[in-house]
Symmetry: C2
Subunit: 411 residues, 2 copies
């Protein structure tokens, strides 16, 4: 590898999470020391931070790398507005267009890395039309990027599980093929048979000993009902700390008492919530979730795909959108928005050794910003990105030598 970590790297005069300026010593792929006036080890590279803000590697908790059209000619969206319209349109489009999930996921993963996103959980469509094709493509990207960026793949039944016979077997095969997490989707609204749908799903997860991340778009009482069934199975199967609920719109619809009862159960079972904080939907009540002890993390959801033209591979922008959705204006509140795409996201997805302490994986992001809140609202180009100890990007531009250089990759 041409981009192996140098023997040592000293970041001088940087402000971790906005604190007083210090130096950060990186050795191999880890933070070795943090302090004022650290000596330069022999042979170490030195980067002058100039008082820039230092953030830990950004974490994308929920995206769909396989779906993106990033860098391709503009896709004119004329799709109907129902969930099922978007599902069916996408499956047909990708089949007809010969969509290349390997190339597309790599283009977007590179763009994420350039903005300092060093860990990604991505849901990958598994269905009876494409089989494991998209997963195989994303696994290639995962392996290619592994020296710098950790990508978790979720085998995701986007077109439904029971409703498309053969999908359960494909999910089983997907986990056997290396998918890290089992995905799920609306057991009432899409699958039409919540008990059997969840029994099948949890059965596959148990067989492989893999965690779960379930898309739950179902609103109000229906969503709360499905969520209860999920929590029942989490408890019965001893899957504490192994289940994530993505979206969970229903939690934003419920009366406080009902919502809080569900949150208490989620906290007790270590079930986490993943949100893109969509401005046009109900969202889980962030502060109530945190007060209940439920970890809430953020993600973009799809970026520039047939579902939506919006989204950028920049977790500072997602933090800003989380801040706007939850009306977080005070500096201490905006810290929480950024927490959702750093610490909380690493915790919720199980990305190990995330942080800004000695021993953490050296995933570091330097930003010209006066404060954490400033970084979130202004989203400046990243001055420097270090991934697993190696400098991978400067001023928003990736260094040569990373995978996929010849791929299209501009916005």
């Amino acid at each position: 590898m041409t981009l192996a970590p140098s023997p040592a790297l000293l970041l001088r005069d940087v402000r971790p999470w906005g604190a007083a300026a210090v130096d950060v010593l990186v050795q191999g792929e880890r933070i070795a020391a943090i302090g004022a006036g650290l000596p330069v080890p022999p042979g170490a590279a030195v980067e002058e931070g100039g008082g820039a803000l230092l953030l830990p590697g950004l974490v994308e908790g929920h995206t769909h790398l396989d779906k993106t059209l990033w860098g391709l000619p503009w896709y004119r969206n004329e799709v109907g507005t129902r969930l099922i319209d978007r599902i069916d349109n996408e499956r047909a489009f990708r089949h007809a267009s010969g969509h290349d999930a390997a190339a597309q996921s790599l283009a977007l993963a590179r763009a994420f890395l350039a903005t300092g996103t060093t860990r990604i959980r991505t849901h990958v469509d598994v269905d009876t039309q494409a089989g494991l094709k998209h997963l195989e493509g994303v696994l290639r990207t995962r392996d290619a990027m592994a020296p710098w960026q950790q990508i978790q793949t979720v085998a995701f039944p986007q077109s439904g599980l029971l409703v498309r016979p053969g999908t359960a077997e494909l999910l089983d095969a997907a986990l056997a093929a290396g998918a890290d997490v089992l995905g799920g989707l609306d057991p009432c609204a899409i699958d039409g048979d919540p008990v059997r749908s969840l029994d099948v799903l949890f059965g596959i997860a148990a067989k492989h000993g893999k965690p779960l991340d379930i898309h739950l778009h179902e609103p109000g009482a229906m969503g709360a009902f499905s969520l209860g069934l999920i929590l029942d199975r989490t408890e019965a199967l001893g899957l504490q700390g192994r289940v994530a609920i993505s979206h969970g719109f229903c939690l934003g619809d419920l009366a406080a008492a009902e919502c809080n009862a569900l949150l208490a159960r989620m906290a007790a079972l270590g079930v986490v919530l993943v949100t893109s904080a969509p401005p046009s939907r109900s969202v889980p009540p962030l502060m109530a979730c945190r007060a209940a002890g439920v970890t809430v993390l953020g993600g973009n959801d799809g970026i520039r795909d047939t579902w939506t033209p919006y989204g950028t591979p920049d977790m500072l922008e997602r933090a800003m959108l989380i801040g706007l959705r939850y009306n977080l204006r005070r500096d201490d509140e905006i810290d929480i928005a950024l927490d959702g795409v750093t610490r909380a996201a690493a915790l919720g997805c199980g990305f190990a050794d995330h942080g800004l302490v000695p021993g953490s994986r050296a995933d570091l992001v330097l930003v010209d910003a006066q404060s954490v809140a400033h970084a979130v609202v202004a989203r400046p180009a990243r001055r420097l990105v270090v991934a697993r100890g190696a400098v991978v990007a400067r001023e928003g531009v990736l260094r040569p030598g990373l995978p996929g250089e010849r791929a299209h990759g501009t916005a």
Copy 2:
């Protein structure tokens, strides 16, 4: 003026609002001709568009240039969450800090111009503590920028009208001093006496023959009640086409029948709606407003001030946020989001000669984007900005020679 329009300017190979490529001839401050293969007039400057997207000058329909802390050291927000907390905090902060509304409004107006925003409606605080000080500052900016950017000032009783005796007299003086529009604020929730508050307000507007733009944050039934009182007075005083409602959150709270009845009255009276499309609040139903014939336009509201750290002086980003708030995903829907910060905003604020037809004021924005929707979601740096016929910015950077060059002005 060093930046006077050249005798003629030919933009070659540009795609107006995403249509087929044409040339655009500018003479003086107006578009003279649009067509394929236009000849180059003697002495004309030529700009090669290279097939870039051409948009009309962007329009900011609701901001607060006087409040911004743009370019100043980071303001740490520790303010309480009630509306009155923010009002009182700001008034006290600006008094204590000696806030310079002239310099601040100019810094932000410049940043707006660099992104192609050639028309701005700005609300300017008038209160018994600051008097007309902020207005005088913004009027200086208005006059300085007038050769390139049209700024409308709204004399705005941010701290209340009746509730702070002496404010009515100050509003009267503000209009006499050159404010273009009379502003108002929550006649129930802030002023506590809606009938008398609106009678006083409309009396001042009528005396000066000036239009009105009223901040209406009041939710649900209270907001609907105040809105009804506003419409009554609009009708009684013959102010058709002269009244704007900013925010109008209540319209997002009402049942469809009640909302539609108000929208029908608004349409009949030519009352327009101005929205920042906040993700955390109810918003007027965009499509229902348009179906009823109510013009809806967009604005940032405050940018980087003591109320909120969010916001950028880029109307493409505001169009994106409008699109996200209203879940506008199809290309034809995203056109509507951009319409809110171009055509509809010019119409609603009364900015004349806006558009991309011969005779329009030559306010032109070139963007490297494949389509209108692409420009909205990607918000690329503006390749070229022409304002009243003069090239004022390239690649997002203003040309030398514009007012306020020595002012702080970065984000």
